[in-house]
Symmetry: D2
Subunit: 342 residues, 4 copies
């Protein structure tokens, strides 16, 4: 059986990635595509690489008839999903790729996003969309909040270690290298090709990145007490991918064992043999996450590295994986595309 989906915000990169994945998905059909500022255009005009597909014309959200839609993917700028989801028919399931429903505490939301939440009742019902850790809740959810792409990467590296108390919570340092598509398609001078193509630069340094809200929420919950990690992302001149280098105190072999054990049956999370570490080129274009662990010459220190594609496993692939669960489909449906290399 094929389910009808709508993609809201189809003119952004995560919107395009949803279309790309769904193009060969056996159980989903794109019934509507919205892009407010580009309404009336063909998707092929906005994303010429998709011109081989037979797709609906872009419309405004207001023009969409949601009565025949089973599930909505909301790939909207932060802040726009809140009122929107509230006003959708209750029969329509929602996977939100934005940040509006990631934080459970309205005060935390306001702190990180600078404005009060306008749909706090909905916020309470949203399930955090880190599939491999909230699978059962996601299956029964009406509204799933996709995670931040950095938040997904680092959580895959650290959650089992925190749960198993294998890591010193006071000295977690995560240095990330980030593909530039994570910044989206909006026009900023420092995102021009000429500015980025030979540059590497950190951003939101010093504990200012919004994904820290997710880390605080999730890691504190796991640890049973407040946890504050150090987390610094860096733009590297690559389109897709996040490589998280996590510097930890603890026993690296025990960490490796915990990760390998926890992810043994996961179709998309792979732990490499001890001492091997992944690189970004291993996952681009796919829903896979590769994780490695090594020790250091200094006893009691470990390096855990995780990598995934920010547009795919970090966003649109995760969204489809969650949609599969919500719609009763095979969890891996449409998501076994192999990474593209070179």
């Amino acid at each position: 059986m094929t389910h009808s989906v709508a993609i809201l915000g189809a003119s952004g990169y995560t919107g395009a990635e949803l279309v790309r994945i769904i193009a060969t998905h056996p159980g989903l059909r794109i019934a509507a595509l919205s892009a407010d500022r580009k309404a009336g255009q063909q998707m092929a005009d906005v994303f010429p690489h998709l011109r081989h597909l037979d797709l609906p014309v872009l419309t405004t959200i207001a023009e969409i008839d949601f009565s025949g839609i089973d599930l909505v993917f909301a790939a909207l700028p932060h802040g726009l999903s809140q009122a929107l989801v509230r006003d959708l028919p209750a029969s329509v399931k929602v996977v939100d790729l934005g940040a509006d429903f990631r934080l459970r505490d309205p005060a935390e939301y306001e702190k990180w996003y600078g404005a009060p939440h306008v749909a706090t009742e909905l916020q309470k019902t949203a399930v955090y969309g880190l599939t491999e850790f909230y699978r059962d809740d996601i299956r029964g959810a009406r509204l799933v909040a996709g995670t931040g792409c950095n938040a997904a990467t680092v959580q895959f590296a650290l959650r089992p270690l925190i749960s198993e108390k294998l890591v010193d919570l006071e000295s977690i340092i995560c240095d990330l290298k980030n593909g530039i598509s994570g910044a989206g398609r909006s026009l900023k001078e420092n995102m021009l090709f000429a500015e980025r193509s030979t540059d590497v630069a950190g951003y939101s340094q010093g504990g200012k990145h919004r994904h820290l809200g997710e880390f605080d929420q999730e890691f504190s919950l796991l640890a049973g007490r407040p946890v504050r990690i150090v987390f610094t992302p860096h733009l590297v001149p690559v389109n897709r991918g996040i490589l998280a280098s996590c510097y930890l105190r603890g026993d690296p072999r025990a960490m490796h064992a915990a990760l390998a054990d926890r992810y043994a049956d996961e179709p998309f999370l792979h732990v490499m043999p001890f001492g091997q570490l992944p690189s970004m080129g291993m996952v681009q274009g796919s829903n896979f996450c590769q994780i490695g662990v090594t020790g250091d010459r200094v006893e009691g220190r470990a390096l855990v590295v995780a990598t995934l594609d920010n547009l795919n496993k970090g966003s649109s692939g995760q969204a489809v994986q969650n949609a599969n669960l919500m719609l009763g489909l095979e969890e891996t449906a449409g998501l076994m595309l192999a990474p593209v290399f070179p």
Copy 2:
């Protein structure tokens, strides 16, 4: 029904691309992988992006038991397929991705490749693998010779124009921009990242590129008299893709009509509206070829631009498309993967 295939030369880029495509192909199963110098290694060691797949260990060609193999993809360096294919069991079909069987005339082969052909009987039976123009022959063939990647791109742009006598044969100039994966994985100083990442350079300029042998053969056959085009490839710092800018004399609107008409029912060849021209970013990671035509301010001049992914439609995708036909499968099976952008 699933067919068993072997990939010879699996440690090169076209070998990896075959594996990537077949990973989600519904009708093919990889039964053997060879890589003489890396025999004994896991594919995951040679291409870590494929480590999520359950693949046979790399072996030498001599170690392969061909009795259970339906079809062989030979992705070997030029010159190695000739004797090899001669010695395979007659029941095994072969798609050769190399240059050994592209030229029908042994003298032409020797001229362009610098050594006499050692399997001239086989050469006579090989079908030229430009699917959209040799489809019926390919269906019944035992041995199909994959085309050069440049040769495929330019032929898609020009064949209907030559057939329909829409272009001046004395003034065809094709300037190509080529992704660097086309140079393969062999070790050359000028293929190092630091040498190529900010450089653009022509190669085999002045009518020396071997793919000219294919152009001479095919275009002369179509025109019924010798045709010699000017063809110059240029390396650009991109992994995948060929963009061919073809400068022609003739009526651009008639050219557009001929191409649009000829490719109207082709699943992988798309002609854009008149005046629109494709870019490389429209096809990477896919089996599609996009073609556009425009006029010039100078009357009687036209620009035809074609683009495809050299590793996919230009090589491994074409190979799978041909294998589909040879094995009686749906021609598009496994090949509808959408391009990856950004």
Copy 3:
């Protein structure tokens, strides 16, 4: 003796390149920097790579006291120089890096730039700034019009061939590969890193690029009759550089001899041995232009390739070279910086 210069439009890439060159120039001193929208900022905020220099604060043009300025570099968007230059004190020399004074015929200007010229008297006095061909006029000029970067590259390849009647004027085809800094620093979606980093695309195809106005003017003047070349630029994912592949009819050895002879004493124009062709990596960051010639297997065909750095020899380096002449300095002063590779 040190001359005081002002740079108008210092927040763009050619403005920054002027500052970079002048930083080690023995005879020029930067007395004023303007950038209307960024007035009040430090240059280090706009271009952090220049923060080691002691530079004036950015101001509006209106704030500049031109009384102590010997020469102005105007690196402004097209159209803004006309009225500006008209209103400057007559004692101030001007090198205009924009397009306002490149075309001598006001009708041609209006045709290519879409608006009538507002300083047609000045336009008559402007000298076309292709240094190696207008050197004597430049020495005595008050106003020099910098050439288009594509226009400079192709003219270096073709002028001696047209002058010496060595090339068929009806079949000149110039295919250019262009670094992306040529598009400037303005905000366009298709100039974002994620859009350009793996793409190659033509633009202004079909005879629509404004630099054709310069080609028409200069080549027709040289030939003594109208000349219309075919010229197509292509964006490649490189910051700096233009590589022009010029497909010509004529005797390649005679062409090589003419170029080698004409440029034998030029400090910045180098002709490679016959059969060798340049690549973009040979000139980046410098004021040099490298030129090569080869034949083709088809008799009577030639390929002439020229490459230069669009921001330097194609714009700001040329501007300084012209300023040196206008101010009575050594022509090469400050311009012998070697290319940066890798």
Copy 4:
């Protein structure tokens, strides 16, 4: 007065960078260039971007007449300088860009480089070439050992903090992003363009990188007791540059003050205002190092980021700076070239 220098190992990237710098240096003249495997070739054949220069033909080292040479730059593979320097005339000064004389303790040398040192007497006399910290010793030295490029970057960030006891020595974590030219010009599959252009990968992870020998030596000396930092480099798809993100415990404002104070008069080391951090694009092609400091939302944590060009300030620029001191020239001679951006 002009001094004659020889460059040994001129066919590598640091050799080319030496030539580029010396090309506009007022006090140095290149009298000999060696490249054993490319002896007999012109430098223009090995590095076409240098073809505008009038340079000696490449020779073997044995062919060089050292009697007229004032100073030798040895840019040789690790291990080759030891015997060579021993056999040079005592009147010839030497700047070694390799690793042979960086470590004072022969046991440490053998531990990190896997073979005993063959010139231990010389090793004792060599001065560690971190100019800003060994300036007086370098002035009088005959043999200066250039530092590792990573070693230079991190030491600029940390030395004043360790000297002033402003940082917890047990928790220093340095995550580096490294341009690929640092890997040199040797042929390795994982250094091909197609392998690196969209990848980011760590290397020598887990405390295995040889530059740790330098950190151990220098930081332990400064601290007066053994110091072992965690240091992990990562290859990013950029030609030049190192960006070191140093995660520290201590008071960030005190760190900033110490760095700003220590480097206030340094021509090449610049400390940004507190809270601003540098990016790689600020220094490419130059001898400058930019340093920034910020705090974290977690009290008592600091991030110090330093960036320099590995081929220039990290190697060849440092070498020229040291040569300037050894020859009695102005320390900044030839080194004030501004960074190239974009």
